[in-house]
Amino acid sequence: MTPPRPTFLDRLLEAVVGPSAEVVLGDLEEEWPERVAGTGRVRATWWYTRSAVETMCTVLVRGGRMMGGRNVETSGTRSTADLWYEARALGRTPMWTSLAVGTVTVGTVFAAVVFSLAEAVRTELVPFPEADRLVLVEESNGQFAAVADPTLRALQERSDVFERVAAWTGPQDANLVRAGGDPVVARMGQVLPGSFELLGYAPTAGRALVREDEDIGGPVSALLSYDFWVREYGASPDALESSIDLNGRTFTVVGVMEADARLPGQGAEGPDVFIPILRLPALATDPGLRYQVLVRGTPGADAATLRAAADQVMEDLRATLPQWRSDPSWHMEVRPLRATLEGDSAQAIRALLGGAALLLALAGANLVALTLARLQGRTREFQIHTALGAPPSIAVRRLLAQNGLVSVAGAALAATGAAWLIEAIRTADPEWIPGAEFASLSPGVLSATALVAIGLGLIVALAASRLHPRMGSGFAGLRSQGPDRRWKAMARGLVLLETGMVVSLAVGAGLVVRSLANLRSVDVGLRLENRLVARANLTSPAYSNSESVRRFTDDVLSQVAGLAGVEAVAASTSAPFSRAGWNFVILEGRDPADGQLPSSELEEVTPGYFEALDLPVVDGRSLEPADYGAGAEKVVVVNEALAALYDGPAVGRTLNYTDGPTLRVVGVVRNSPAGRLDEQPGPRVYLPDMDDAFPWTMRTRWFVVRLSDERRADAIGEALRAAVVRADPGIPLHPPRMLTDMRADLLADADFRSLIFGLLGSVALLLGAAGIYGVVAHTLGAARRETGIRLALGASRARVFARTVAAEAGAVGVGTVLGVLAAWQFASLLAGFLFGVSPLEPMVYVGAVAAVGLVATLAIVLPAYRSSSADPLDALREE
C-alpha cells in the first residue's frame, strides 16, 4: 500500500502560485504512487520537495501566468497587491510593527556578528595558499617551545620531507634612525628568506630577501612593511636602497612587502622592519630557543611522516652536538597550522554562537506570539475576505507578506546594528577571539543575515498559520470568539519557553559579569594612582655594558627627580604588570626533587623603586643606595612567590642564577601580577645591579614617576622625554602612560567580554519581558467578554486578578526550572572565560532567577491588573 503523499509544502505552494496550484497538486498526487514504486519513499519525498520548490521559484522569478487565460490574476500582481496591502496595514499599527521589527532586529544582529567573526577566523586567520599542508614545528620540554638555530638549519636540510621552511621571530621594539631623521621606535623582526614566498606574499617594491642575505660579511638587507613604508616614507621609492640604523647597526632597505603580508598569528601588530636570520657561526651550536618555524611538507607526506622526520632531526643533533637536549623531556612537536590558529577561536565562537542561537530562538518565540496575537485580531477581516470569494490561502499569503516585510526591515536594521558592533569588536580586538581584528560585514555575511531574518519571519508565519485553531478549516461564521483552550495552551507554552531561554541567557551573562568583578578586585599589590611610566630601549652598541646603561639611567633620573610635581622616580628593566626576563635559579638548601630547577623572572631596579610604586616590603628590607655600585655585597629582594620556595624564611638565604654570582636575599615584597590578572604571580627576583659579573645585560629601562597630582602627567611626561634626549639624542622614549591605563589594558578583554555577554543577557531580558507581556495581554484582551461576564456576575476584582496571575505564574515557574537545568548543562561552554567563579555558582543562578522572575511578574501583573480593572459594561457592550 502506497504511503500518503507529503503535504508540508502544499499551503506554501498555494499561497505563492495561487489557483493554478490545484492543478499542480493534482499532478503531484497522481504521480506520487509511481514515484514511490520506482524510487522508494525517501527519494519520492525529495522529488515532491524539489518539484514544489522549483515550481514556486519559477513562478516567483518569472512573475507571470502559470496556466494561460488572459483574465486570470497573475501571482506576480497578486503578490505585489498583498505586499502593498500589508505595508499599509503595518503602517496603521506602529506599536505592533515596531515590536515585531525590533524583535527580528535583535534576534538577528548577534547572529550577524557571530557570522562575521566565524568568517574572519575561516578566511583571514589562515589566508595562506595550501594552508592544509602547513605545519608548525617546535622543540619543547613541556615548559618552553620554539626552535633553536641548529635545529632550523637541520630542518632545512631535510628537503626530502620538508619541501619549504619558513622561520621568524616575534616583533621586538627597536630604535630606528633614518638619515637626517629623528629616532623612532619601530617593531623589528627576523625572518628566514623565502618565508614570505611560502606564505604567498610578494614585495610590492624592490625585491624579497634571498638566500645570500643570510650570509654575514657584507651589507645586511632589510624589508619594510607596507604600513611603515607609507607612514614613515610617504610610500616614496626613495626608501629603496636607503640606509637605516636599527639599534646601532646599519641596514640597507631592499624591498617593501605587499600591504596584506603578515606572519602567522601576528595580525596587524607584526614587524615594521624585517631583517634576515643570519648564518652566524656563534649560533651553530647555540641551544637557545629563538624562532617560530613553519614547514610545508612534500606532496604525500602525511602527519606521521613529518613527525618522524622532525624526531630524526633531533636525534641527529643529539648524536653530533655535545650535550644537545640531553634532558629526556625535550621532544619535537608538529602541529597543523590551521588547527592551531583556529583552535583558540573555536571556544569563543561556540559560546557566542550558543548565545546568538538562543537569542534567535527567543526572538522567534516572540515573533510567533506577536503574529498569533495579530492574527487573532484579524480573524474577522479574513472571514469577510473569504465570504466575498477570496481563496482560503489568503490568510497565509497575507501572513507571509506581513512577516516578509517585517523581516526585511528587521534585517536592514540588524545589518546597521551589526556594522556598529563589528566595528567595536575590531577596535577592541579582544584576545579571546583571535582573528577578531579582521571581522567585517562582507556581502556573504549580509546575505546570511538577510536569509536568517527573512527565514525567521516566513517560518514564523507558516508556524502561526498552522498553530491558529481556525486557519486550517477556514473561517466559519462571522462571530468572533474568545480565546479557546488550544490558544490558551499555546500561550502558556510560549511563556514557558521564553522564560526558560531568558533564564539560560541571564545565567550566562551573570557568570561572565561576575568574573569581571572578580578580576577587578584582584589585589595588584601596589598603588596605581598618580604613577606615570615610560620606556626607553638602549639597544645601540654604545650600551654593551652595564656601566654605560647605569650612566644613562642615572642621568635621566637625576634630571627628573628635582622637577616640581615629582614625588619620586625610579627605573626598572621591566614594566609593572608585565613579564620579565627569566632564568633557572638555584636556591640555597633546596635540591630540586626531580632534577628540574625552578625558574624565576628577574628585574633590575634602581634605589627607591618599591617606594615609587608603594610595593610593600613584607619581610626584611628594601634595596638601599649602599647596595649599589662596585664593591657592594650582591644582595637581592624577592617576591612572596619565590620566598615560598625556601624551607623557612627567605631573608638571609642565598640564590644563584646559572653562570651568575651568588646573591643574598635581604627582603621580600608583596606579589604583583605579571602579564595576566587571572594567574598566580610567579617567582621574581629584584636586583640592584647586573654588572659585568652577569653574562647578560638588560638594556630596556622603564621609568616610573610618582606624581603629586595626576593633572601634571602631560607636563612631566614631556619633561621625561626631554631628559632622555639630553642623556642621549639617539634614544627615543616610548609614549608615557598612566599605570591605571596599563591595568585597564589587562582588564580590557574581560571588560569587553562582559559587555558582550551583559548585552546578550539584557537584550534577552527585554525580549522575554516584551514577549511575555504581549502574549498575556493578548490572551486577556481576547477574553474581555468572559472577564466582563465574571465581573458582572459579582466576582471580585481581586479574585479575578489573583486567578489570572496564578494561571500565568505557573508557566513562568516551570520555564524557570527548565531554564536553570539548561543553563546547568551548557554553562561549561563558558568555563574558559571565568575567573574566580564556577559555572555552577549558586549566587549567579539565584540572581538570574530573581531578575527574570521580577521582570516576568511585572509582565504578567500589568495586563492582569488592566484586565481586572476594566468596566464589565464595556466588554459586554462589544457583544
Binding site: V17, G26, D27, E29, G64, G68
Partner: protein
C-alpha cells in the same frame, strides 16, 4: 513571425504531437521523460505551456480530476495549427543548419568526451 520558440517550448510541442489532443500536463511530462530522459518540474512545464497558450500556439481547458488526483482538476492541452506551423519552421531551420554536418558534429562531440 514573433519570438522564436525556446528549447523547452519545442520539447513540449513535440510531446503534445506525440500524445495527441487533450493531453493532461502530467502526461506531457511523462512523454518528455520517456523520450529524452528529462524530468521536468511541473512549474516549468505549466509556465511554458502558459506562454504558448498566450501566443495562441496551444489551447487548454480544465476538467474535473478523479480520486487519483485527490479530486483536483486537471488541465488538458492540444496543439493548434499555428503551433504546429512554428514547430515545423523551427525544425526546418535546424535541418538546414545541420545539413551535411551530422558526422562532423558527432565526431567533435566524441572528442569533447575524451577531454
Amino acid at each position: 513571425m514573433g519570438r522564436a520558440l525556446g528549447e523547452l517550448e519545442q520539447t513540449l510541442l513535440y510531446a503534445l504531437i506525440a500524445a495527441g489532443p487533450d493531453t493532461p500536463g502530467l502526461t506531457l511530462r511523462r512523454e518528455v521523460r520517456r523520450r529524452s530522459g528529462r524530468d521536468l518540474a511541473p512549474g516549468a512545464v505549466y509556465t511554458a505551456l502558459g506562454r504558448l497558450e498566450d501566443r495562441g500556439l496551444v489551447a487548454s481547458h480544465l476538467v474535473d480530476g478523479g480520486s487519483a488526483r485527490g479530486g483536483r482538476p486537471a488541465r488538458l492541452y492540444s496543439i493548434r495549427p499555428a503551433g504546429a506551423k512554428e514547430l515545423a519552421e523551427a525544425y526546418r531551420h535546424v535541418e538546414a543548419m545541420a545539413e551535411g554536418l551530422t558526422g562532423r558534429l558527432f565526431a567533435l562531440a566524441r572528442e569533447g568526451g575524451d577531454e
